[in-house]
Amino acid sequence: MKAFPFALVAASLVAAPALAQPQIGQPAPNFRALDVNGRAVSLSDFRGKTVVLEWNNPECPFVRKHYNSGNMQKTQAAARKDGVVWLSINSSAEGKQGHMDAAKAKAVIAAQKAQPTAYLLDPTGAVGKGYDAKTTPHMYIINPRGTLVYMGGIDDKPTPNPADINGARNHVLAALSELKAGKPVSVPTSRPYGCNVKYKDS
């Protein structure tokens, strides 16, 4: 039981994208990681669909702002209703804040009533570094052709205060509705805000 995650961790390391900053308009780097059910998930599995990546650390106050208020779940539901794939990714390293094994993660997802397509565990930080993910939350949107079309914050009110969600521009919802209408994403980048991703000390 203990050996198998290690093997897959090693596999995900091998499959890790090269360290290059992702760029808007360029192909999004492929990756492979385990989800909470022990299933290997690759970005390339979702060719032809719009994919949202959400960096997650359930203990980060900025993540809690969006989950405890229900804002992130609402965004996930709206996205998935339109057939969008939502991948939550946890890059907290072992021993760091927000690090969970699969069972713990499942329990947290259930308690939060979160609705990602898959919740991926990235304890080596390979996926996170490949996307240059800096904060939790940090959001990315990849169009059906595999091109990166948005990266940045969840919205434009960089505070930990849930009261600021009302009146903020939800960059992800806005981008998804523009994509659905066949329009280019009007705000393709924004400054992400939140806690730093708890990568392992290098």
């Binding site: 106050p61 713990k104 009261a163 992400p192 730093n196 708890k198």
Partner: protein, 678 residues
């Protein structure tokens, strides 16, 4: 079982409401915050300094205005008495903390955020001034982050005028920790994934681990290494560019721990600081090179160069139709001009690298070089005038008169050497750029100068058609020679003047005596033209010249240091008041080691003899305020003058309102000050 308990605890903690201000107030905080004022009794209508004093718990840190890769900027919402207004928060120079490869700009020890509060006008002393603020900030360890909120409260009351601030010493310390505004303009280049920042900083300013903290997001990759190069008066920071090209870049340049300069950089061309970045800023190098070639071309019509060149043209004309000979001469001449320009350029660069503030034409700062030039030019002029002939050799003077290859080479060398004083005004920009370029590029620019100078001859040598346009040799050549001796004599006159400026009347007299001696010797040589080995007869003259060089007073350096107006007293408002009370005129200036404008003014104007003479004649007292360390008393004085930094120059004529001078001084402006009141 314990695992299960831990899970439930985690899930509970995740499900707890996000911390809101009300919930926070009861929890212990990781940063103790305290709002304090420089004085609790500010006068009506005044501006009082407030500080939010922050004391993080050990292991915790607060964030700078730009938090870096993660974190958030602190914010405060003020509730103030009617008519009061709070300025923006001012941040001390932050530190760096890299966690898991992500950059954080933080404060790990106690620090103070400062702001100015405008007290409403027209309030009676004793009126209460309740200051309230809701202060939100993020505090983190390397592991966790906690958003905290503090209710700031401070009760001031309007005081009677004249009460001194009670917490001046503490606030002086706070203000000292703020970055000082850089007085000169910084530039940045954001290109090809690289970001280069140029900051003018005197090379005498010592720095330890400089680092650029950007306020503009997206300009640079925060976690990337910053490579720092110093090259003369330039500090260049190169690092990986960020995601978005900015139109201007604001930030703080840390010079050492807790000490830095705030700056705004405009887009521009910044060459790589070191020689290990080939291919960078190729356009800048090409532009400088083109400027240098054009400048060199222009030099051909300068009075100090023209005669030499005309000589060369004449000799080319004499060479007639000999194709190969003309080409050889043109090439040799070019080689001479380029070699001398390269040698001078290399010497400038070497001197700069060694820390001397050498500029172009630096060799003319040495009176011995001036004397040699004076004698050389005199000899050429006398030769042109026909006092003596060098028949076996042809036209020209000295080594430059040797025929063929070597003659052409030395003519080019001489032209380049003599031309340098003329280059200054035309070439200052291109050569200034050259000093900041990587070594090979800088040398290329100097070589370009030589090439430009030689260009007309290259054309004459290689284009027979151009050569055919030259008039046929004839008796007119002698007439032209005699006429051309006039600008050469004028050049000699100019050099004698320079010599006089440098080493006084004695030096100039020695120089003129040497020139006379040389003239007599040459005359004697000319009388015996045609006899063999006549160069030997020049030996006594050479000996005389050597003697002159030894006796020549080496500049008036001693004099300059003795009378340097910089030997003023340290500035204090009390001393200023005392001197003005005595009825003395006072010149007060404020400077800092990192301020390049200040250094330029000091070297170029304040240290000049005319200024010191004028000041001592009129008994002008000089007060110097050195703000290098951010002295708070000087900072307050600057502020009272409406300035945020240095330089500042003020002249206090007795019984008149103080006169603030422009930031760029001129000698005549400063000297004229002392004459206004006498």
């Amino acid at each position: 079982m314990t695992r299960l308990l831990l899970w439930s605890a985690l899930i509970l903690s995740v499900l707890l409401p996000a911390p809101a201000a009300s919930a926070q107030a009861t929890e212990p905080r990781h940063i103790a915050t305290q709002l304090i004022a420089e004085t609790d009794t500010p006068t009506a209508g005044s501006i009082v300094s407030l500080a939010i004093h922050m004391t993080p718990e050990p292991g915790w840190h607060g964030y700078w205005k730009n938090p870096g890769d993660s974190g958030i900027e602190p914010s405060v919402q003020w509730t103030l008495p009617r008519g009061a207004a709070a300025g923006p928060l001012e941040y001390p120079v932050p530190g760096r903390l890299i966690v898991g490869g992500l950059m954080n700009y933080v404060y790990e020890g106690p620090y103070a955020l400062l702001l100015k509060l405008k007290v409403p006008d027209g309030l009676a002393p004793g009126t209460p001034l309740p200051i309230r603020g809701k202060f939100d900030y993020l505090v983190c360890t390397k592991e966790v982050c906690v958003p905290e909120s503090a209710d700031l409260a401070l009760d001031l009351s309007v005081g009677a005028p004249g009460t001194p601030p009670t917490r001046r010493a503490a606030f002086d310390r706070f203000y000292q920790a703020l970055p000082k505004p850089l007085s000169s303009e910084a530039r940045f280049q954001w290109e090809g994934g690289r970001f280069r920042l140029f900051v003018p900083l005197p090379d005498s300013m010592a720095v330890e681990e400089p680092y650029f903290f950007p306020l503009t997001d997206g300009a640079i990759d925060y976690a990337a290494q910053q490579k720092v190069t110093r090259n003369g008066d330039a500090l260049i920071i190169e690092t990986q560019a960020g995601a978005q090209q900015p139109s201007s870049v604001e930030g703080v340049l840390r010079l050492r721990d807790g000490y830095g300069l705030s700056l705004t950089a405009r887009p521009g061309v910044v060459s790589a600081g070191g020689p290990d970045a080939p291919g960078q800023g190729a356009f800048a190098i090409l532009a400088a090179l083109a400027g240098a070639i054009l400048g060199g071309l222009l030099l051909n019509v300068m009075p100090c160069v023209f005669p030499i060149l005309s000589l060369k043209a004449l000799s080319l004309a004499k060479a007639g139709g000999d194709e190969a000979g003309a080409r050889k001469e043109a090439l040799a001449y070019t080689a001479g001009a380029v070699a001398v320009c390269l040698a001078l350029g290399a010497a400038v660069l070497a001197l700069r690298a060694g820390g001397t503030a050498a500029g172009w034409a630096f060799q003319l700062q040495d009176p011995r070089v001036i004397l040699l030039l004076l004698l050389l030019v005199t000899a050429i002029a006398l030769n042109l005038a026909g006092l003596f002939e060098l028949p076996s050799i042809g036209l020209g003077g000295g080594l430059a008169s040797a025929g063929g290859w070597s003659g052409a080479f030395w003519t080019g060398a001489l032209a380049a050497f003599v031309a340098t004083p003329c280059t200054g005004p035309f070439m200052a920009a291109a050569l200034g750029a050259a000093l900041l370029l990587p070594l090979p590029a800088a040398l290329a620019v100097f070589a370009g100068l030589g090439l430009g100078l030689a260009l007309p001859f290259l054309i004459l040598g290689f284009v027979p058609a151009a050569r055919r346009r030259l008039p046929k040799p004839g008796p007119w050549m002698n007439r032209l020679r005699h006429i051309l001796s006039v600008p050469m004599f004028l050049t000699a006159l100019g050099l004698a003047w320079v010599l006089g400026r440098q080493s006084g009347v004695d030096g100039m007299t020695i120089g003129l005596a040497a020139a006379l001696l040389l003239g007599l010797t040459l005359w004697w040589v000319g009388r015996r033209q045609g006899e063999g080995r006549f160069w030997l007869r020049l030996a006594p003259a050479a000996a005389a010249v050597a003697a002159c060089l030894m006796f020549l007073p080496l500049g008036n350096e001693g004099q300059a240091t003795a009378s340097s107006p910089l030997a003023g007293e340290a500035f204090s408002e009390a001393r200023l008041a005392a001197l003005r009370g005595e009825g003395r005129p006072v010149f007060a200036y404020f400077t800092a080691d990192w301020c390049i404008t200040c250094k330029v003014n000091e070297k170029g104007v304040l240290q000049r003899e005319e200024v010191s003479r004028a000041f001592s004649e009129h008994k002008v007292a000089v007060l110097v305020g050195d703000w290098t360390g951010g002295d708070a008393a000087i900072g307050r004085f600057l502020e009272s003058q409406g300035r945020s930094g240095v330089p500042l120059y003020i002249y206090y004529a007795p019984g008149k309102a103080p006169e603030v001078l422009p930031q760029l001084l001129t000698v005549s402006r400063v000297v004229s000050l002392t004459q206004e009141d006498s």
